[in-house]
Amino acid sequence: MCGVAVLLAALTVPLAAHLLAGPSLAVAAAGLVPPAVVPWLLVGAAPRAAAGLAAASVAALLPYWSAWEPLPAAVRAGVLAAPPLALIGLVAARLDRRARAAAGLAAAASLVHLAGYNPFGDVGCAWLCADAGTAPTATRTVVLVSSLLGVAACAVVPDRPAAAVLAVALGIRLWDPADPDLTVAGRVLAPVAVALAAGLLWLRVARRRAAVAGLVRDLSSGAAPATFAMPEADRWVDAAGHEVAAPDDATVIAEPTGPAVALTTPRHTDPAEVVAGLSAGSRLALGNARLLAVTRRRLADLRAGQRRVVAAADAERRRIERDLHDGAQQRLVSAALHLRIARSGTDESAHAGLDAAEEEIRLALAALRHLAHGLVPAGLLDEGLAAALRELGANSDVPAELDIRCPAHLPDHVTLAAYALIAVALGSAAPSRTARIVVAEEGGTLAVRVEMSTDAEDLPERLSDATDRIGAAGGDVKLIDTDRPTVTVEATIPCA
């Protein structure tokens, strides 16, 4: 489309120069446009602006074809009405409502012009000049209406820079002193057209600036309407590090290594311009936001991995415990039973040896039970944290006061982490004082607090396994021991 416009413009320039004794300044200026546009179009640096310039040069120069006498009168009248149609070239690639509206307005402007002002087909003023006094007024009215329609068409064209250039071109044409019939309307409309063009450009710049400012503000508050690409994987995350679907309609800013940020710009802004309008600082902030999001995701991945490791270790421990109970222990019990049976068939001289063997088995069973009995009691996950903690408190040497307000069933890893912490803390407490244990679930977070008295210097080491579990669950542990022997262990564990 642009190529055709450039071709028309290029043809028009020598023609206009040939036909006009002294080409006006406007024609000379407009004639310079096509050679300037061609390289832009060729390198594709600013195709929209180039298309606007090309359409504008057509709009400004096409009417000069009317001075070429061999052309049929209808064609000569047509080219006079053609300038607004240059707009259609700008919107031809689009199918949206605004493009259709712009094309419709441009067509209306041309039709009004063609129907109301035809110096070649209506030489004797058959339509409008019955009364010679009214002819100039009617003509000016027609041109005014046509031009207003053309400017209105420019106003709705989606490609703002191109439309602005075209509006200026229409204004210059109307203002052209070489066209005496149009000078009055032109002198009114030219500033309007220029103002419109300037207004459109200003609006565009203002919107872009607002969009950029909004983006920067959102960036600093961590609420940027952006998603971030994880490096080396086709995964996208939001600012909080939660995984999201790959963006469809957002503008993707790429880095040499691949896509980095997908930005959702406000309506009525050109995403490419918003991106181009970002200052170096904003880009840095965007890069930072991405780094943060990626780090959060990595941390979440890592914690998920840790949780899997802990869960796998727990499962393995349970498996071993079950194997010990169902395998070795059963066999030992069975062996002891059969020793006892064998005993009844032997005389007393053998009893001492059999008794010793039985005692060995008894010791082995006790050792086995000790081995199988882990930190986490059997039934913790079935019966829930509250029941297990009451049991723990009841069996502890340390008198414990429990305040437990949590759902009967929490996620397994949360239950295990909370129990492990409280069990170790209570196991380290001195029996001289009542320990106070508070467990409360609120807003998706389990808060654990153990207040106790202890003289265990190695409490942090004792708590390290439980601290790891809680860390893997995305929570953290705080040990307040500035007021020893009074020590408070606090933990928060997300229940999600």
């Binding site: 079950r322 019990v333 039973l337 088995i361 006790a366 199988a372 069996n395 502890s396």
Partner: protein, 214 residues
């Protein structure tokens, strides 16, 4: 005394049956799982059942569930549960509502068949028997609000032996004191645990329950 043995390991089951038979107990049936056990109890209506706590399908507490169902459905059949679990939790669950006619022994106790036979006899008479190791654990607790704190060490010993299902005479022998002293000690224990005067057997069961809940 007619008894049913339930354990999913055949060697343990048959060895146990053999030893019980040698000790003069009539073993009327052997069951490899809870369903078979309940069917046998329904058929034979035995005096007692020896039930392993871990049985198929989950190998956790099937025996416990079966024991409670037997006690609910067949009051004439007492149950001794054999357990690998030292945690008092399971004993508490077993004995929480109606401890009479129920016993909870650690599995390794079966090698001392006299203890098992004694426990079977006691539970079938409506008493409650708790494994000495678990009793010792329960008595280790030092809860300030527990009624057990008011007991003297002698009274604690008496309570422990009572919980193991020993008779006054056995307690007297064990502690090398007169049976009369044991009776006086028992009365003190009942009083300190706020157990209203009632038949001696019932109060002994309630004392064990207090110990479990303390």
């Amino acid at each position: 005394m007619r008894v049913i043995v339930a354990d999913d390991v055949m060697l343990v089951r048959s060895g146990l049956a053999r030893l019980l038979t040698d000790a003069g107990v009539q073993v009327t049936g052997e069951a490899p799982d809870a369903d078979a056990l309940l069917a046998l109890v329904d058929r034979d209506r035995p005096d007692a059942a020896v039930v392993d706590i871990r049985m198929p399908p989950t190998h956790t507490d099937e025996g416990l569930v079966a024991a409670r169902r037997i006690r609910a459905g067949y009051p004439g059949t007492a149950v001794v549960v054999l357990s690998q679990y030292l945690e008092p939790r399971y004993a508490q669950r077993l004995l929480a509502d109606q401890p009479g006619g129920l016993g909870y022994l650690l599995k390794e106790r079966v090698t001392d068949i006299a203890v098992l036979v004694d426990a079977l006899r006691r539970v079938s008479e409506g008493e409650c028997v708790l494994d000495p190791t678990i009793v010792a654990r329960l008595l280790q607790r030092r809860r300030p609000d527990s009624p057990l704190t008011q007991l003297t060490s002698r009274e604690r010993e008496i309570l422990a032996l009572m919980a193991e299902g020993r008779s006054n005479l056995a307690i007297a022998t064990e502690l090398s004191i007169s049976e009369r002293t044991v009776e006086a000690g028992c009365a003190q224990v009942f009083r300190k645990l706020n157990l209203e005067p009632s038949p001696d057997l019932n109060r002994r069961v309630l004392a064990v329950l207090t110990l479990l809940r303390a």
